[in-house]
Amino acid sequence: MTVLKQDSGTNLSLMNMTLYSVAMDMDAFSVGEAVKFKAPNPGWRLKQVRIAGWNGFDGNTSSIPDSENFLIEVRDADLNLLYRMADTQNAYFTFPVPILRAIDLPSIPVSNEFYVIFYDRGSMFIEMELENATGNSYFYDSLYSGLLPVEFTDANNVTTQVNWIIRAVGE
């Protein structure tokens, strides 16, 4: 299996990361964190995605949030839908610290460029790398079927581009 990464590739324990939820930040249920990948060869099949995320669990049972769904979509270069699944965040991301969690998919043939889109729905956070942006991370708005670049501007007007920690695994 090949693991495709569109972050800096730095070891996760050394990365400059922070947690983020697009649904909490933008109050937008229909917007997802999207990463563009390129299949390494014709006939390559996507079989798993890996998401670095966390549902807020601090080790105490009482901190487990209400069960809510995230949504994963796989789209081709023209944003046509290839696959989608929804499931509860607590089944994957209930750990005392953020975790890079593997989610198996049915084998999906992808050619050339494709997108993995993760809608956190405000049910959890995903990790974003705050430096070494590769230009492959986007917001995807499902209402308008469009991609937006991900840029954050702080109070000092400094703009930061980021990488979502979303990886694609296949062969």
Binding site: D25, M26, F29, S30, D66, S67, E68, N69, L71, A77, D78, L79, N80, L81, L82, Y83, R84, M85, A86, Y119, R121, F139, S142, Y144, S145, G146, L147, L148, P149, V150, E151, F152, T153, D154, A155, T159, T160
Partner: protein
């Protein structure tokens, strides 16, 4: 962090070249005799396994289904100014022999959230080549309501359960049985 984003050029997926299949009366929605329905409200817990089913005919061989629209609403409490808790619906596509072709569950608030009442929520599906006759089955699971046209039944709306299909009907105060139409549409090309 404040977000500073600008739209970039992207090859947009378009719904404009799609065909919408309807099995209601065809009247303008504003002129229809509509009410709101949840199977769980009627059948209790037994209704969790029952769905609102509509039979469609694909317009041509090789026609692909890209999405389903349901006129529905997850509700809004005006007194407490709150939306309901998340609850999953289930969507199924079946062929004329009721073999399962596609299945997808997700939270109702992701598609049917509104302060103002029912609207057409679109559920996109990966393109699915459907046979000449197929069924769209929507399980509201009690988490939302689905609009129903209470007259002008076209004979294409059913209740679906492990017992199979039964015509969706309403018995009036005068004991008259009339067919109804679920407001469910199939979109494809």
């Amino acid at each position: 962090m404040a977000i500073c984003s600008a739209a970039i050029a992207a090859e947009e997926f378009s719904w404009s070249d799609m065909t919408i299949l309807k099995q209601d009366s065809g009247k303008n929605v504003t002129e229809m005799n509509l009410s709101l329905f949840s199977i769980v409200d009627v059948f209790g817990l037994d209704g969790l396994d029952d769905g609102e089913a509509v039979k469609f005919k694909s317009p041509k061989s090789g026609w692909k289904l890209y999405g389903v629209q349901v006129l529905g609403w997850s509700g809004f409490n005006n007194t407490t100014q709150t939306f309901p808790a998340d609850s999953n619906f289930l969507l199924e596509i079946r062929d004329k022999n009721l073999n399962l072709l596609y299945k997808f569950a997700d939270v109702q608030n992701g598609y049917f959230l509104s302060y103002q009442g029912p609207f057409y929520g679109l559920i996109e599906i990966p393109p699915l080549t459907v046979p000449e006759e197929f069924y769209v089955i929507f399980y509201d699971r009690g988490g939302m309501v689905v609009a129903v046209e209470e007259d002008s039944g076209t004979g294409n709306s059913f209740l679906y359960s492990n017992r199979g299909l039964e015509p969706a009907q309403l018995i009036t105060a005068t004991n008259e049985t009339i067919g109804i139409n679920w407001m469910i549409e199939a979109i494809g090309k």
